[in-house]
Symmetry: C2
């Protein structure tokens, strides 16, 4: 998407084919800073500190992390170490494991002399496919927004956290249909959950939408239920860090509460996801590991002070403990539909298998890993 | 309750019988500042700027505001002006109108020479009765906590916003049962919703509980659903700004989402309230006016910086709009029980009338105002 008229991806390789850059998301919306991804350690650190975040983007940056490791030393040991290092950065998003598996498969049987080129090629392919995938999600989701339009007012869409282009390589998952609706001239207005504790809604989704000219209003995470009770939300679209084979959706903490409110008020609740976010090995969301992050993400908040400096302020009394669960699981029963690159389908094992029949267990053969 | 070993109320009259003091809640937990309530204009300003907040406390401070107005000029015109000024400060809490009605009834038929003394007497009575009422709520709620205790771990209680002693005159509504359980040696642990946008949970509830030594953990408002799914919440207790005759509960924005999650996970959801928070003229919560506050409560956050200074930081991009609905309505069907000073009762017209039979419509007489 464009920033100040110039097209950007959230991670990209320079024309030399080797130098990798990314947008530091911890400084947005106050500062737009492009950083170089120097090596695999820097990639792990960028993921861990959430300079890059969003399930698809984490996978893409991890892939480049492996490529950078190969550029340094194309040995099996380095490959294994890079994958272990990157896999340990964050536990919940399944795309990370998916991308690292794919990089491993692409490299392990390659001669060392070809590994560097192969690694960059594969990482770039992961990025390009993510863009294509997100565009397809956008086109399918656009039909749902189009169906909700037609009244005198804009289509009011609530989203939680950031599942926009900055969470992916381009376009986004939850936001792709919104960008496409806006570009197609369908009037849309987005209620942006601020999404404590890290405020990815207030900081990133609002910034993205504003940069693209999409009307939006930031609200506290507690407000969505009231808006739905008053008829001010036509539909919800969120992303996901991991969706199970049974259709349970793990996403940023608080998604479950919005799904409950949508269900209670007959507001359609959609989850947009690429196939890379599906964990075919899990039936129920209850088994997904939920990341617990540092308490100081709750006890302090980062913003811009009157002098324009980015500072953190404490918001709790000294001595009060805080807990910081980063994700929750929304049961499939609360989800109206899943929007994938292959189409819109019910959040159920049957629904997912109807789009991904190749994932059906084969009774006569051993099931693949 | 005690702060550093000294007993405080949230508003009080000095031994001269005329000088009124209150705790400035906008500075907590970072600074404990007692301010004098100089006149009725200052009372209105203190309520409007939320130096004092919490439905019962708003009523008490408004009563003292009337007394201060009378001390200045005991005329009918001044009385009327004081009531209009104070009533216009905040729209949602019904206690404000209740306290102002009561002050009017106590003063209008008094000779002017006795109005000042009568006004202070009545305001003091409102305060003293609120303390007695909260103590009774605490005793009734204590039984619910006691019934939930007995396992090997503490009783885990989730609360939203601040309905503690600082929201009342002393003891609190939702927190009174918790203080009494703690004092009775029942192990309790409180999950404190930070309660954006003004963070009354993170700032006031955490401070209160900490000062009294009650174990607690601050969480973002989005976390409660996940905690309930994982069995980490035994019961919820919240306060209310207005409860209808039909048992619908208007309370700080986000209460509805927690009630939905409690219902979805079979966690008892209790609302603690004094009779002064009941609006007998409304059946449904849909007719309660919902205060919309300034957008900058959402777009910026106040906290303490590294140098110890209280500062506000912006958390949204320039140019992004924000909406700030301060309350929502939880339908009676989601509420396990109401805890009032007269006992525990279902959230329904029948339940409330069983405790307050004097409010039943009298078919042969005209219903009183």
């Amino acid at each position: 998407m464009k920033i100040g008229g110039k097209h950007y991806r959230s991670v990209w390789v320079e024309s030399d084919g080797r130098t990798v850059f990314y947008i530091d998301q911890t400084l947005l919306p106050f500062e737009f800073k492009v950083r170089q991804l120097a090596n695999v350690g820097a990639a792990a650190q960028a993921i861990r500190t959430m300079q890059v975040r969003g399930a698809p983007l984490i996978g893409a940056v991890a892939a480049f992390g492996v490529a950078l490791a190969m550029a340094n030393d194309a040995s099996d040991a380095t490959l294994e170490h890079a994958r272990d290092l990157l896999l340990a950065t964050r536990p919940t998003a399944i795309n990370l494991a998916w991308a690292l598996d794919r990089m491993g498969n692409a490299l392990l049987n390659q001669p060392r002399t070809e590994r560097v080129a192969a690694a960059y090629r594969e990482a770039q392919a992961i990025c390009d496919e993510d863009v294509t995938t997100c565009q397809a999600i956008g086109r399918h989701g656009l039909q749902l927004i189009r169906a909700a339009a037609g009244s005198k007012r804009p289509v009011n869409i609530l989203t939680h956290c950031n599942a926009g282009w900055i969470a992916c390589v381009d376009w986004g998952t939850a936001l792709a249909p919104i960008y496409m609706a806006h570009d197609a001239g369908i009037p849309v207005h987005v209620w942006v959950d601020e999404t404590r504790p890290r405020n990815q809604g207030a900081r990133l989704t609002a910034w993205e939408l504003g940069a693209h000219g999409v009307p939006h209003t930031v609200i506290v995470d507690s407000a969505g239920g009231h808006l739905m009770q008053r008829g001010l939300v036509d539909l919800c679209i969120v992303g996901t860090d991991r969706t199970t084979a049974g259709g349970d959706v793990c996403n940023k903490i608080g998604t479950y509460l919005k799904a409950l409110a949508a269900h209670d008020n007959n507001v359609p609740f959609y989850v947009a996801l690429p196939h890379t976010s599906i964990d075919w090995t899990l039936e129920s969301g209850a088994s997904i590991p939920i990341e617990e992050r540092a308490a100081n993400e709750v006890t302090s908040i980062t913003g811009r002070d009157a002098a324009g400096k980015i500072v953190s302020v404490a918001v709790t009394p000294d001595g009060s403990a805080a807990a910081n669960f980063a994700f929750d699981v929304t049961p499939a029963r609360l989800i109206g539909a899943l929007i994938t690159e292959r189409g819109v389908t019910p959040a159920s094992a049957e629904g997912l298998l109807s789009l991904y029949p190749e994932q059906a267990p084969e009774p006569t053969k051993e099931r693949g890993k």
